[in-house]
Symmetry: C2
Amino acid sequence: MNDVRWLNPDELQAWKKFVAVVELLPGVLDSQLQRDAELSHFEYFVLAMLSEAPEQTLRMTGLASATNATLPRLSHVVSRLEKRGFIERTACFEDRRATNAQLTVAGFEKVVETAPGHVTTVRENVIDPLTPEDIADLDRIMGRILGTIDPEHRFNPSALGETQPTA
Amino acid sequence: MNDVRWLNPDELQAWKKFVAVVELLPGVLDSQLQRDAELSHFEYFVLAMLSEAPEQTLRMTGLASATNATLPRLSHVVSRLEKRGFIERTACFEDRRATNAQLTVAGFEKVVETAPGHVTTVRENVIDPLTPEDIADLDRIMGRILGTIDPEHRFNPSALGETQPTA
DNA sequence: AGCCCTTGGTTGTAGCGTCAAGTATTTGGT
DNA sequence: ACCAAATACTTGACGCTACAACCAAGGGCT
């Protein structure tokens, strides 16, 4: 029965800090965006992913992958953003089951004006406290964890090397 | 106006992976605990922190710190766990404003029987994909981030070197 | 003492996410 | 050609969290 491999002290210490960050970071990102743009971090992320897509358009499933979200969650969020005039839903011609989500002009402007404040927050709270080696280590470690918790490879590691206002 | 320091390619790549993990990991932890113990990860964390405390008792504020939670959130969660018989609230004699949360026997047993499955999940998804160097790097990096996003030092880095079923 | 500010905690409400169910279309098998 | 299964998405209900408002008790100050 007791073949459980408990965490050793080093593992436990790292895990506790990691859990704390996972618990606290979303609040930090959300509150800045909520205060400055009345957007949750996830809403911003949806708009940002669309802003980088060709024609500012993505199918719902593709957008869900790009934002690490479930389809129901995305559907609700897109509905809200549609009501606020940032996104439009259009039918997909190749597959009539599918729905395209397209950024409106107002939505694109929203991303452009929101991005600087968001990037600044990310820098202050995550990037700038780290050295270049830390960044490389973080990338490697998160890549390894993603390899296990994202077995379907929903996460798309293809889009690299951008200086655009993704985040 | 445009004094924004955008993320360079390395920073952007690491940030995207980090965000994906922060978005996906809670779901992984929650679903295992929900399935096997009908507990959210946060509920489990509350019980686990109490199980390690002297007398299995902590004041609400202390428990909120230990679990990186706000007081209203904790209050609601403790109410639920109290209804399920895992926690009891008792008055605090030194400060009559305060409330003590104490683990019941049933609550302690719940932690004991739930811990192995949880630790296994943590191992499989986070710890085991990493090398010992990765663990050290993760600890260092999360410590640096915590230093900025947790300025009031709610997070308590004192309790180290345990092999107990914290996680 | 009397006042005010702070601290500790609870409660209500509103908003977001998850889960389950449902619809529409496409695909694959026969 | 037909039917079952899979895919793409939406919807509704329920549960949890954040925020704000609130109450009670302590600590300082005069």
